[in-house]
């Protein structure tokens, strides 16, 4: 059912309320696992819906496609700026992630859902498996939220 007046977007405050509520009840670690897993599934489904599964484009093209799907013209989860190949790992540079939104500078919050979504999307597009890690944060002095994805299969 579509929302006639409210449309398809909700406030970040409500989304963050879900995360902090889960963390309170389940703990940070279990919540992070659940949200990263949920993000992976979301990313996988999104690129499948867009017909990009198995397309394996260049990393530049991939960043552009992800930004289109997740950014300003898409679901507004985050902006994807660039993807850099570093041999056995790739680094995804993002900003305005929903996970970092609303946090104070110096916050220890790490991206989970956003990182999972980006990872799941890239895995499905490339047909590879990665282990993602949030290595740089806009909340801790970086210009980007960087997701380092190590190839595992």
């Amino acid at each position: 059912m579509e929302r006639e007046k409210l449309g398809g977007f909700i406030s970040i405050v409500c989304f963050k309320g879900v995360i902090t509520g889960m963390e309170d009840a389940l703990g940070e670690k279990a919540t992070a696992i659940a949200l990263t897993s949920a993000g992976r599934t979301r990313g996988k489904n999104l690129v499948t819906e867009l017909g990009l599964a198995g397309a394996n484009p260049s990393l530049e093209d991939l960043a552009s496609k992800l930004d289109f799907a997740l950014g300003e013209n898409g679901t507004r989860l985050c902006k994807v700026d660039k993807i850099v190949d570093e041999g056995d790992k790739i680094k995804v540079y993002t900003h305005e992630t929903v996970c970092s939104a609303g946090e104070v500078q110096g916050s220890t919050r790490k991206c989970t859902y956003s990182m999972g979504a980006v990872c799941g999307a890239i895995e499905t597009i490339q047909g590879k498996r990665y282990r993602p890690k949030h290595t740089e944060s806009v909340l801790r002095g970086s210009n980007h939220d960087v997701f380092e994805m190590t190839l595992i299969g």
């Binding site: 389940l26 703990g27 279990a30 696992i33 897993s37 282990r131």
Partner: protein
């Protein structure tokens, strides 16, 4: 890669060599599958995320409710057991066993294989 093959070999042999063991998976603490020998109708990625999350939740319960360090998480269903046990800092082991399995023997076997896996992981 050699490490993965060794881990896979141990898990596969553990499942194949015990009639009451119906499946096993070694997953990372953040919920990614490392190696597995699960029944074909089970989703490997979802199983990995569930196992890591439930062990983490169990550890939180142990801490919050002052139960001490968690030895294992056991889900006992009408059709059998799901047992989750930490393999050090790097992995979580999930074992699926039949209802007929003798609990004491099962836990002993799981402890033994977890020790073997930890030796390779370290």
């Amino acid at each position: 890669m050699a490490q993965t093959l060794m881990l896979s070999d141990i898990v596969q042999k553990f499942v194949a060599g015990n009639n009451d063991i119906q499946g096993a998976a070694l997953v990372t603490p953040d919920g990614l599958s490392l190696v597995s020998a699960l029944p074909s109708d089970m989703d490997e990625e979802r199983t990995a995320a569930m196992s890591a999350a439930i062990l983490s939740l169990g550890e939180r319960i142990g801490q919050e409710l002052a139960r001490g360090e968690v030895e294992r998480i056991v889900v006992e269903g009408k059709k059998g057991y799901s047992v989750m046990i930490s393999c050090g800092e790097d992995a979580v082991l999930l074992v699926l066993a039949a209802k007929e399995a003798k609990q004491g023997l099962l836990f002993l076997e799981i402890k033994r294989i977890a020790k073997n896996l930890m030796a390779i992981l370290s």
